[in-house]
């Protein structure tokens, strides 16, 4: 089980990767809201 200490350590250590993932998520989320419905599914 992850305890708070472990999580804090991992966040502190890997925060750049998490920030990057978060930014990607922001962009993806924003685009999903902006795009009309027909363009949502892209293969």
């Amino acid at each position: 089980m992850m305890d708070f200490q472990t999580i804090a350590f991992l966040v502190g250590y890997y925060w750049p990767y998490m920030a990057g993932a978060g930014l990607v998520g922001v962009v993806i989320g924003w685009r999903n809201m902006a795009l009309p419905k027909g363009e949502e599914a892209r293969t």
Partner: protein, 168 residues
């Protein structure tokens, strides 16, 4: 060296960061859109159905027949006719074919038409050929003095004659 025990934890944290970012991005976009919509609603006033007061056009006068138009025109001043020159207008013993509808002349009713027929006047060309001397002669008999000139019977008859000839 990465501790393999924590790989899953790291992956979960990164995935959580990614999903958090998606949620933040979507929420930010939705918030911005709502703000813009509220702003545009506030800035643009409610469309007022502008009642374009169309210029009330003056009522067009009813189309007048040529005879009526002529009748409304200013009468031409006629020199007074000498009493000695007064004479009866040329008459016909009977109408040539179908008599013209003299009632089309404004001022001539059934009674006047009948009186004109009795005097041998059946057609527009006869009236169109009236001279002042004829008019003076007629005024004492079928019309009030000055009426024939005031209502321009001769001019009306000329116009109607032109119409008839154009139609035939």
């Amino acid at each position: 060296m990465i501790d393999l025990d924590h790989v899953l934890e790291i992956a979960l944290l990164i995935a959580a960061a990614y999903m958090g970012g998606c949620a933040i991005g979507a929420a930010a976009h939705w918030a911005l859109r709502s703000m813009r919509a509220a702003k545009s609603r506030a800035s643009t006033p409610a469309p007022v159905v502008a009642f374009e007061a169309t210029a009330v056009a003056e009522p067009t006068p009813p189309a007048l027949s040529p005879a009526m138009r002529l009748a409304k025109a200013e009468p031409v001043a006629v020199e007074p006719v000498k009493l000695s020159a007064v004479r009866r207008p040329p008459e016909l013993p009977a109408p040539r074919g179908v008599p013209d509808d003299l009632k089309r002349i404004k001022g001539i009713g059934k009674k006047t038409e009948s009186s004109l027929n009795d005097l041998g006047i059946y057609h527009f060309h006869q009236i169109a050929a009236w001279e002042p001397a004829h008019i003076v002669w007629l005024e004492g008999r079928i019309a009030v003095k000055g009426r024939i000139q005031r209502e321009q019977w001769v001019e009306q008859a000329t116009l109607l004659l032109t119409e008839l000839r154009a139609a035939s």
